[in-house]
């Protein structure tokens, strides 16, 4: 009897785990691959919460409002029909997590509590203490473990995905992966493959993300023909504590609770912060944005901090650092409101945030772009058909993507607490889609010639061989620093075409240099240098996609900002005023030109970019965003 079709899921963050669950539930076997035990995935870092309209705070919150907030938050750049399904599914997802035992924070009557989060008016964010991501990840992990106990899921942990195996027609029929203990490459057959490999923050050197967020896996399928969408849209978080290993997120709540951002007025002031009198401090957000002050949106805050340090040279000690000051609050108040966050700062900085201002700088935080995925539109509802093989399908047949590595839902900017939701939801949708796909396939992986697997394995073995027989002198870890510097230097919160041209040139050189490396470890046992060397090569390729997309997009949208092309709302003018109407006309003309997804196709000498229309049928962009 023929065996059942099998699905491979790569990645065991929220996205990958939910995909695994859905497939196992449908009765199909799953092989789950991850760099490390899935329970350690980056999703555990999320602190803040997950959005869903439960309307438990008497605010008449509505799913439609969640849809509107998500679309507008993304500056209209996301394909809209799937957003409808995302927001509609959210309350059910929270109920399901609750049934799975997530320790959501409670109201006095024992029901689910909800808090306010950035960019919206209603209390819509469910949370579990200060570790929401960890709690959600564990719930999904436990459910998958139950299936594992029944033999329905097989885990390959400490394995690195290297490539998909394509047959003669270019359809995905499996993967190659490297065992990270004995460093051997194997090929695996599968009738569908789902990638849930997370974000790409490490392309910017240090970020708020974990070591698994390199984007290497996404880059690998991109280089094999999958299209990559909206790469240039990277969210920068204004308040992160810089570290030698990573930047640690200091939650938005610090500003929400009255944190004041400042630098000394004079460059090079070496006094301790508490010795600098109030009138010698420059509270630049309060001065530049009197209406909002320190609580301006993330992107505005990031750019202001950037301006003060990089353009005005007022960063502390001339460096990329400014103060986030909470010391004017009594200790009890801070302990109660921000205890978790401040304790983390203390743990990792060794400084006391109750008496010393916190030192922060913007950091790469989230990637809105990713592997281009499709959906089947539902003609009746205007949303997405809930289960369909086209949903979350990449442009390679049989390959799906979910979680932060896909490009759906968030457009040009992501709302806080919307990505735990999208990672979960996209895992569900991709899992269901892969099942629909394998049910309908005519040709099985088992029918694919061995040669396809042997050749792909050989290609990967050759890469390993080349890397472990030194061909030059480049150190893979040093290359990562250079990559980070280049990206932070020119493709960061503020971009201009001259700098982007330099970045593109620099990346090209880096790519060439990354072909002649010399590893300090050429062994065949748990060789982390080899794994990193492979990843850095692929990160550089994806960096080129990000930089080129940014270079070509001559406008400001969401997280992507080029001062030269900024359309400013005329001050003090509103609808009906001729100045405002003129602005609105310009805004519309700009949308006609730029409200399009950036689609990158891999070519040997760098990405080729085209622009694709957005489906804005749910909420057509009639009015500019106006937060005044």
């Amino acid at each position: 009897m023929a065996t059942k079709p099998k699905v491979i899921v790569v990645g065991g963050g929220l996205g990958g785990l939910w995909a695994t669950l859905r497939i196992a539930e449908s009765g199909f076997p799953v092989d789950l691959f991850s760099l490390f035990p899935v329970k350690r995935s980056h999703s555990c870092c999320a602190q803040g919460g997950i959005n869903a309209v439960l309307d438990v705070k008497g605010q008449r919150d509505s799913i439609w409002q969640h849809v509107v907030d998500t679309i507008k938050g993304g500056d209209y750049l996301a394909q809209q029909p799937p957003i409808k399904n995302l927001c509609e599914a959210a309350p059910g997802i929270i109920r399901t997590y609750d049934r799975m035992g997530v320790t959501f924070s409670r109201t006095p009557e024992g029901s689910m509590d909800q808090r306010l989060f950035g960019g919206v008016k209603n209390r819509r964010t469910a949370f579990a203490g200060a570790t929401t991501g960890q709690q959600l990840l564990y719930a999904a992990d436990e459910q998958v473990r139950a299936f594992e106990a029944e033999g329905k899921v097989k885990k390959y942990e400490e394995w690195e995905f290297l490539s998909v195996v394509l047959d003669d027609e270019g359809t995905c029929r499996g993967i190659t992966a490297m065992n990270l203990v004995d460093m051997k490459v194997h090929a695996f057959r599968a009738d569908a493959v789902i990638l849930g490999t997370g974000g790409l923050g490490l392309i910017f050197g240090r970020s708020t993300m974990s070591t698994n967020s390199t984007g290497a896996a996404a880059s690998r399928v991109y280089q094999q023909g999958a299209r990559f969408a909206n790469g240039e849209f990277i969210q920068f978080h204004p308040t992160a504590m810089k570290g030698h290993d990573k930047n640690r997120l200091m939650s938005e709540a610090c500003r929400g609770e009255g944190g004041r951002i400042w630098v000394p007025k004079t460059a090079g002031d070496t006094r301790a912060p508490n010795d600098i009198p109030e009138d010698e401090r420059f509270f630049f957000l309060e001065e530049w944005y009197p209406a909002y002050g320190n609580t301006v949106p993330r992107d505005v805050a990031s750019r202001a901090i950037y301006r003060v340090t990089r353009h005005m040279g007022l960063g502390l000690g001339g460096e990329d650092v400014v103060y986030l000051d909470l010391t004017h609050h009594p200790r009890e108040f801070l302990e109660k409101r921000l205890g978790g966050i401040l304790d983390m700062y203390q743990t990792f900085s060794g400084e006391d945030p109750y008496t010393q201002p916190i030192k922060i700088f913007p950091s790469t935080h989230y990637s809105m772009g990713g592997i281009l995925v499709g959906y089947e539109k539902d003609g009746e509802t205007g949303g997405m058909v809930p289960v369909h093989p086209k949903n979350h399908a990449s442009t390679i047949g049989g390959l799906f993507a979910c979680g932060e590595c896909d490009s759906a839902y968030h457009g040009a900017n992501r709302l806080g607490a919307n990505s735990l939701l999208s990672a979960t939801f996209s895992g569900i949708v991709a899992g269901d889609a892969s099942v629909a796909h394998v049910k309908g396939i005519k040709k099985r992986a088992d029918d694919t010639a061995d040669a396809a697997y042997d050749n792909e394995k050989k290609r990967q073995d050759d890469i390993n061989r080349k890397l472990t027989s030194p061909t030059g002198k480049e150190n893979p870890f040093a290359l990562h620093h250079e990559l980070g510097e280049l990206m932070q230097g020119h493709v960061f919160v503020e971009r201009d075409n001259k700098g982007l041209d330099q970045a593109i040139e620099g990346l090209k050189k880096l790519r060439e240099r990354s072909q002649s490396m010399c590893l300090d470890d050429n062994g065949t046992w748990s060789n982390q240098s080899l794994s990193w060397a492979r990843q850095i090569q692929d990160m550089i390729v994806l960096a080129e996609v990000i930089a080129k997309g940014a270079r070509l997009r001559d406008e400001c949208r969401g997280s992507h900002y080029k001062a030269e092309f900024e359309l400013k709302i005329p001050e003090g003018k509103f609808e009906g005023d001729p100045e405002f109407e003129e602005y609105k006309a310009k805004w519309k003309a700009n949308n006609d030109k730029w409200l399009k997804a950036t689609i990158a196709t891999h070519a040997d000498d760098g990405p080729e970019i085209e622009f694709k229309q957005i489906d804005t049928s749910v909420l057509p962009p009639e009015k500019p965003r106006d937060y005044r």
Partner: protein, 249 residues
């Protein structure tokens, strides 16, 4: 302040190789932790004898003390390397791998045993399916929720297992962390339905009767999880269960 950071690292090329100590020095910079220092060393892997050597192998992912990956023995104490600030540590800083788990290489060990234990104690809530049934779980009082939250932050790091004298190769004791998970799942209103099954999983050989109550586990847990409270409570529950079993059989 010292101008250098001095490490003494216990290394081992693989499970069958001989362990040896190797020393490294690197330039001092404020706010380094053990993980960020190891990152520096992997880029500059020259020991104090001036020899270029294989970079030290270790585990880490989140670097925020929530993923549990980077547990190792730092100056004699099992803890997360990312949260071990260099400024707080006596030098030379001694790094060793956890000893209660099979060694992979250098500071990296294989903690599969802990994940297997989670299977053994059925550390999950049985649900009809991952679909919405248009209902929440039964209400949970904020008090119970607070206790559950303490245990739900266990990141399977293994520090408690390392410190526990009863958990070792020769014993079949599941160790403190999985016992905490039994309590967590037994205290959920739906998880409670399978309480007996979980208690049975920890009642026999290797269950909680092996615990010597040395409290070592609690002292090292980076998340301050009250493991011995859980063990005491489970002890009472299993005794009750044992009596129930006696009558029903």
């Amino acid at each position: 302040m010292e101008k250098e950071i001095h490490f003494k690292i216990k290394r081992q090329q693989g499970p069958d190789a001989q362990p040896y100590w190797e020393e490294f020095k690197m330039p001092y910079a404020p706010s380094h932790n053990v993980v960020s220092a190891l990152m520096y060393l992997r880029e500059h892997p020259t020991n104090t004898r001036g020899e270029k050597v294989d970079p030290v192998v270790w585990d880490c992912n989140c670097m925020e003390e929530v993923c549990g990956a980077c547990a190792m023995i730092v100056n004699g104490e099992p803890r997360q390397a990312c949260a071990a600030l260099i400024d707080d540590l006596e030098q030379p800083i001694e790094l060793e791998p956890l000893t209660k788990f099979p060694l992979v290489r250098d500071l990296m060990v294989d903690r599969q045993k802990m994940f297997d234990a989670l299977q053994q104690v059925k550390a999950w809530i049985k649900v009809d399916g991952s679909w919405d049934i248009h209902r929440h779980a039964p209400l949970v009082s904020p008090k119970v929720q607070d206790i559950r939250y303490l245990f739900s932050r266990c990141m399977t790091c293994g520090c408690c297992m390392e410190a526990c004298p009863q958990f070792h190769e020769g014993s079949s004791f599941v160790g403190p962390a999985p016992l905490g998970q039994v309590l967590l799942h037994n205290s959920h209103p739906a998880g409670e339905y399978d309480k007996e099954e979980r208690l049975h999983a920890v009642m026999g050989d290797g269950g909680i009767t092996d615990c010597g109550n040395a409290q070592n586990c609690v002292k090292v847990c980076p998340k301050d999880i009250p493991l011995t409270d859980a063990i005491a409570r489970l002890g009472r529950q299993t005794t009750a269960q044992w009596l129930r079993d006696l009558f029903t059989n």
